[in-house]
Amino acid sequence: MATASDFRTCPTTGLKVHLPAERLIKANAVAAVVFLAVGGLFGLLVALTRSPWAARLLPADWFYLALTAHGLDVLIVWIIFFEMAVLYFASAVILSSRIAAPRWAWTGFVLMVVGALIVNVAVLQGQSSVMFTSYVPMKAAPHFYLGIILFAVGALIGTFVFFGTLVVAKDEKTYEGSIPLVTFGALTAAIIAVFTIASGAIILIPTLLWSVGIVSYIDPLMYKTVWWAMGHSSQQINVAAHVSVWYAIAAMVFGAKPLSEKVSRMAFLMYILFLQLASAHHMLVEPGVSSTWKIFNTSYAMYLAVLGSMVHGMTVPGSIEAAQRAKGYTKGLFEWLRKAPWSNPAFSGMFLSLLIFGFLGGISGVVMGTEQINLIMHNTLYTPGHFHATVVGGTTLAFMAITYPLINLIFRRELVMKKVAQFQPYVFGLGIIGISLFMMAAGTLGVSRRHWDITFSDAPLAFDYPAAAFLMMGLNGLSAVLAALGGLMFVAVTVGSILFGAKIEGGAPAAKPKAAPAVAQYGSVQHPAIPGTVVLVAIFFISFVLYYFVNWKYLSEVWPLR
């Protein structure tokens, strides 16, 4: 049982912080940043090798190895470690509760570290360059699958510690009424995580057995369907998590209040109900899957999950606008945005993340996920162009943004190199915008993803991509350098601050939290009108509609197929 000395009061927020939870958040965040650095380095090498001006920087075998490691280390390891920190923060810290079963949480953490190390060793040994997706019948070393399974089990334990903490907080009445919106979003992520990890277990355990010879055959189509129930759903964990982070930053920086609790929570609920269908996005040009199945699933049942994201796209900036207008920034459409703290990396990172995720990642994802349009995009560089906008521009940048206040609140250190921190989201964000746009452009020109040599210089039959494709690959390489610089700035500031930042004093041991005071406010509090957000949303909507139909036009120009 928690005792008084297990808590401290945060001098900034007044939240009661459970020290075992704080230690877990620190450990998970540090592990996350380590793997971000490793995975980011692999990514830089991949992008350079693909650019015409540094072509063949890595030999072919190392290129495919680095690409496999890049995918695993950033898409899985960095993001999920950080999500564990987000889950513990959104439960124990935000609810001022003790964390449930910290020993289990540490067991989960250790499993995740061990799993991540095993996967990295397997990949670096060279026998498991099967890409992040490891499509059968291509076979990796058994410990490749084992490492992923251990990592996933660890993450599942962490997820249940989160659920347990919600139960504890409710039981011990550390808050009154409903859980905060940010915690609700984290709960969404956690529920999707259970589905995701279950799908992963269903497919990876048989695949492990197949790799050691106990199971004789894994159907490749079945593998892909179930694997993506894990692979794509895990991206939906990211969406739920980073949208929660947007709300959290809006609250921390502006004191923003959701425009409507009901609308925002319904939007999260849409994720739980419909996002899992997205496995279909990867099955649109497969044999043996019917169009009916493809259309229903790829559209998340008539785009109901997309509806959720479009709603957040209005309510997140809308809540910021409402908070700013209430403070008196009411001139014109955009004074609230112009006078926002653009030099605060928590805000600039969050807002860039919102823009990149919505305009680049969201629109391209829906277009690419259209059954027929996928024909002109599947497995081209358009695909990584899209998901670098969602996962790097959206999730990673949002996580970077919230790391800055967490260094103050959880690590209790001042930031070092404040100027560097101030520019970091812009450098990284600009790099990611470049990576996404140039890869999408190259993909539109037909360039294959996961390809070492698009000049086909050793191939028996020649083929030439258009010259513009090589220009795009060169610009992609430059953008990757910029993004890597932004990543390096992030690692330098975070590691520097944790090791050398001035200690923030205060936060004497707190009494065990008593029941929070009952909130007295009832009834509707009207928020100010949000005309600026309406304009932003209108621009978004028009871009979306135009780009959507332009791609139908492109499709109509290719060979007739039946």
Binding site: P258, E261, V285, M314, M377, H378, R450, P460, Y522, V558
Partner: protein
Amino acid sequence: MAIHPPSERVWWNLPIARTELIWIIVAFLWGLTMFFMMIYWHGYGKQNLSNEAYRTTPEQFSAKVQAMVEKYKVREEAGIPVVRPPPGSEVYMLARLWQWYPILEFEKNQSYRLHLSSLDLQHGFSLQPVNINLQIHPGYEMVLSVQPDKAGTYGVVCNEYCGLGHHQMVGRIYVLDK
């Protein structure tokens, strides 16, 4: 604030502001439009996948490919047979480490029933520069009717990673004016 419990205990009864309500309706209708657009295209668009596929084995499929090659071979390029099947016929192309086999010759504006399968791993059929991309699985024979509408030399790039020779895997399709 979003990091605090809702200030109104009964938040689920509060009315939704008009701006949000309008956006929810617009976004929902847009979702429906996109959904029905896919169905519409199946009726009126010219680029749809057939849904026709069969279970097969590497032996069965390569036997069919070989039979076609023997019947319609016109020449060889780089050691790979070039095959010119008659319009409207069943045409086969196989994917294997690290080759598309054989080279096909089509006539412009004629329709062909193209059968695709892999003998080993998954491969990606990426027809360039038209940019038509299909996933090729071992054990599944995908059938689709193609109607090339422009003459020229087309490359078939493999765009699913299939091992160390992946980047050498290039096939070819010729479309002749007749």
